[in-house]
Symmetry: C2
């Protein structure tokens, strides 16, 4: 196939689009791959569509290879199944809802768990029909609060979503492993530098859950890993409860005056100045217990206050907290909320009004680092006062623990495999064992070998297809433009004819035809009144991995072949150039 | 590729689905190609998706062959462009509208004229960039009042829509011809028995317009054609104005009493009984002028009464009338409307209160058959009275003509090519010259050769892709099931292993592998505990064009090969069967 620049529906831009922040967004727009149609909603121009289809095809091939079967659901869906599973409400404002002309509630599918469950219920009835894996590659819709970074997080996007159906947990484990293997092949073929991390299952329910993250400085996800092989999305890091400590030597708790110490820093200073420790050591933030108040807004709109106790040297991580309380959203605890709870002394809140006694009626959860038997400095529930030597289990208790505190570089990996280091990534794939949540909600049962009805267990597996294009661009560019991996480049070779010489254009046209006959896709810059400089700039921007220039060298019988990634240039004799290119491109 | 029935996600049904009326709908559901998800919204199961993709690929190849370039727009679109062209309102309840979380109005694209126009405006600016043809194959949404016949008329459906952009009318004509040629190839390859008819351009505006109709008894469209080559959608038939006749011999008009004659039949009888014609001929319905009242509801909700005068022997054709007044909808003229127009004598309405004098303020349009100078019997605007010898042009006039009367078999073709005959069809493709309507509304201009800004002229070309699958099924089935044309069948051969003999299954599996290695797609019925009868029934229902049965004959060294369409059976020696099948399928 030959794509001629003279007629290709393409315009490159020299300037970055005003709304673009990350390189992939800037370059995909500037190089003419995508155009914004509405916030988070994009048009795929011819070059972009070529890349998108290649990514789709790689995903399709690897899904077919594990025996998954492709089908396609509508994007426009009825409310009822999503009502049955609770997701009509749980999705909150992220769901695009609409009414049809008869007033029936409909939605644009954000994911299709319900529909997959129902179609299997419709067609299958026996354990003999299972295992089954089915998938689709299709438009999904989520009304993101902050669509960003072009197609990296859009409101209309293409996803491959597949589901496995098994009669028992062993079957689910096998289906999960098959998908995991297929995903490794997919992300290898897409050329990602990626990591597989433990993940939260989020609003989906279920048990085992892993994410495939493309490592990228601009990624929205933070993950941590240890040299010993532990890797997890930071939201999924489970800090083990600290071992109980012996509190027998701790004196009785004591209220001390600490005026004007609403922050940990001012508190530590005041303590060291006015209330030095008996053991001579200095007070530090790690000795304090900070009680943070937030409000959970549940999908039905109800507001629930929540108190979280964490060591004073550690912040709450909003994403970790958010993941723990999903589908509720976390908002600030405001003056109006304080007014409803007069027992709370702002800046001096302690377990006295929280926790077991619950005089404030606020649920109180502790960071797992707060060991049974450990002693703390914390608020005395009175402005200007704190309490020291307050022992967990002796002097106060809580309603439970929560994994909401920040995870820091150097923290120990939960599995003991060494200190953690953090990095950022883009979530490209997510596989998880849903279990029976959806099958229960929608009554998907089959007859087992004994003729007894059993509930089917499911796995769910997603790949962000439009996002993959952006993530590949994010990981494959330089200051001049995009640098596509070969397997997904929009063309195999970018052939540039330069100058005004008719002979050059005739030779270039001949080469393009020969390359096409050898099965290559040629992006041929045959524009006549465009300068070589502009043509070279466009070639660097568009990012086809091999660039061949028919120009000045032709007089000496050579054609310049350039590797877009390395910048290496070779002058190849005209007679050899077709074989040279074919060998380079399809070795 | 081998699709094994033992694991294929498929269940055939013996009973027709309750909501299905037409054969394609019944069979596509029963044979496991599609499943209903919501009214007019369908899921494509694995076999159905295979057929759908084949249709898409044929369309894609022929579009690429004329140099059209594929891109893809979002389905979720902003309101503004559709507001600029008036279609946000004109589409009325057929448009799926929704609001995003910020309250912005959005829609699900019914067609993408606006978006195509804007993307060209975004990228191009000079006559040198044109001509251009771009297309997409994508989900479209229309909230049909009566979604019917499965995927024949759905609310979410796949369409290929392309647009051409030219600087002048000559260019548009060439782009139109190129698409027309591509469409002929597409519908030939899809195996349709089709006809190209003149069409209305409907709400789209524009000039030349043709439809490709698949001839089908269950089609929603009626078309007429003559032996001499005229063919038109019945809505697009333009009856020429009747030549003026000499009225000099017609006596003065005369009001006659015709009590109790609210219908044409009672009127003709009364006239013949009480007021015989002077020339001795009997009065017939063709001598009467029937004045029909309707109300037009415009997209903005305003109601406009309309009176239509047609010869009494001819009915109003609702579809023809509807096409003429689009985007207004036609509703009945009711008692409340009569109350607002007291001059109207129900059952005895004549041009006296309509037309030029307009005492009723109702617009009055005549059928073009009502010649200048012709004399009529019509209502005298007084209950129980008619007027005879009322001459058009002498005694009454109207506000214009309208193409709303029925077209009947035997009517003369407008081009004089002989009598018309009517038949029914399914609209599969529509090509038309939009002209400058959208370019004007959205200000798409380019610089011409003289550096002057000129408005671009556009063509619009659509193929119903999901509809094509249903239409092919509608034209290719028998009482046993579907009979797919080879090029779009879900598999090349349906291989059936019968009985319980392990040797049979071993031989069948070997054959399946050999056929796969020869590049064929094999639907292999390897189910072990299913009777031959059920397997044969499934094969007939699914409709793969060639069926090969490995069974009883194997003992005598033969395999039965059956042509699904003709029913012809051949016993082929085992050693020859692969070559026999390959030659049959890819001759």
């Amino acid at each position: 196939m030959i794509l001629r620049m003279s007629s290709l529906f393409l315009r490159t831009l020299r300037e970055d689009p005003a709304d673009a922040e990350v390189p992939s967004h800037k370059l995909l727009v500037r190089a003419g791959y995508i155009r914004r149609t509405a916030p988070g909603v994009y048009t795929w121009l011819p070059l972009g569509l070529r890349v998108l289809r290649k990514v789709e095809q790689i995903v399709r091939e690897e899904m077919d290879a594990i025996g998954a079967q492709e089908l396609v659901f509508p994007a426009l869906l009825p409310r009822e199944p999503y009502e049955a599973t609770g997701r009509w409400t749980e999705y909150g404002p992220n769901l695009f809802r609409l009414k049809d002309r008869k007033g029936a509630d409909m939605l644009l599918g954000p994911t299709h768990e319900e529909m997959f469950t129902l179609v299997v219920k419709d067609l299958y009835s026996s354990y003999k029909d299972l295992p089954l894996s089915i998938y689709q590659i299709q438009n999904k819709y989520r009304d993101e609060a902050r669509p960003r970074a072009g197609v990296l997080r859009g409101r209309e996007f293409v996803m491959k979503d597949s589901y496995s159906f098994d009669v028992d947990d062993e079957g689910l484990a096998a289906s999960y492993e098959a998908h995991r293997g297929a995903y490794i092949k997919i992300f290898d073929r897409l050329g990602f530098d990626y990591v597989i991390v433990q993940a939260m299952s989020g609003a989906m329910g279920g048990s085992r859950s892993e994410e495939f993250l493309a490592i990228a400085a601009n990624g929205e996800d933070t993950f941590v890993r240890s040299a010993g092989g532990y890797a997890a999305n930071v939201e999924a890091v489970v800090v083990a409860p600290a071992a109980p400590v012996d509190a027998s030597g701790v004196p009785a708790s004591e209220v001390v005056d600490t005026p004007d110490t609403p922050t940990i820093e001012t508190l530590v200073d005041a303590l060291n100045a006015k209330h030095p420790r008996a053991d001579g050591r200095e007070w530090t933030a790690a000795d304090t217990l900070k009680n943070v108040l937030v409000v959970l807004v549940h999908p039905d709109g109800t507001r629930e206050p929540l108190a979280i106790g964490v060591p004073g040297d550690r912040a709450i991580d909003e994403k970790r907290l958010g993941a723990q309380v999903e589908p509720a959203e976390v908002v600030a605890f405001e003056e109006a909320d304080f007014a409803k709870h007069p027992a709370l002394a702002k800046g001096y809140i302690g377990p006295g009004v929280l926790g077991a006694e619950n005089t404030s009626k606020i649920r109180y959860l502790l960071d797992p680092r707060v060991a049974e038997g450990s002693a703390w400095v914390t608020g005395a529930d009175k402005a200007g006062y704190h309490v020291i030597n307050l022992v967990h289990g002796r002097d106060f208790t809580a309603d439970g623990t929560i994994q909401a505190a920040e995870v820091r570089d150097g923290d120990a990996a939960p599995d003991g495999s060494g200190p953690l280091e953090s990095a950022r990534g883009i979530e490209m794939g997510h596989i998880f064992q849903l279990g029976r949540k959806y099958a229960d909600a929608l009554d998907l049962k089959v007859l087992d070998q004994n003729g007894k009805l059993v509930t089917v267990t499911m796995g769910s597996y997603g790949v962000g297809v439009t996002r993959a294009v952006a993530a590949i661009a994010e990981g494959n560019h330089d200051e001049l433009g995009l640098v596509w991996p070969r397997e997904i480049a929009p063309a195999d070779v970018h052939l540039v004819a330069t100058g005004k010489d008719a002979e050059v254009f005739a030779k270039a046209a001949e080469l393009a035809a020969e390359l096409e006959s050898r099965g290559l896709t040629v992006l041929y810059d045959d524009r006549e009144k465009v300068s070589p400089g502009v043509k070279f700039k466009d070639a660097e921007l568009i990012g086809v991995p091999t660039i061949a220039v028919v120009g000045k060298g032709l007089a000496e019988g050579t054609i310049e072949v350039k590797d877009r990634r390395t910048g290496d240039r070779t002058d190849v004799p005209v007679a050899d150039v077709v074989n040279h290119l074919v060998t380079t491109i399809t070795p």
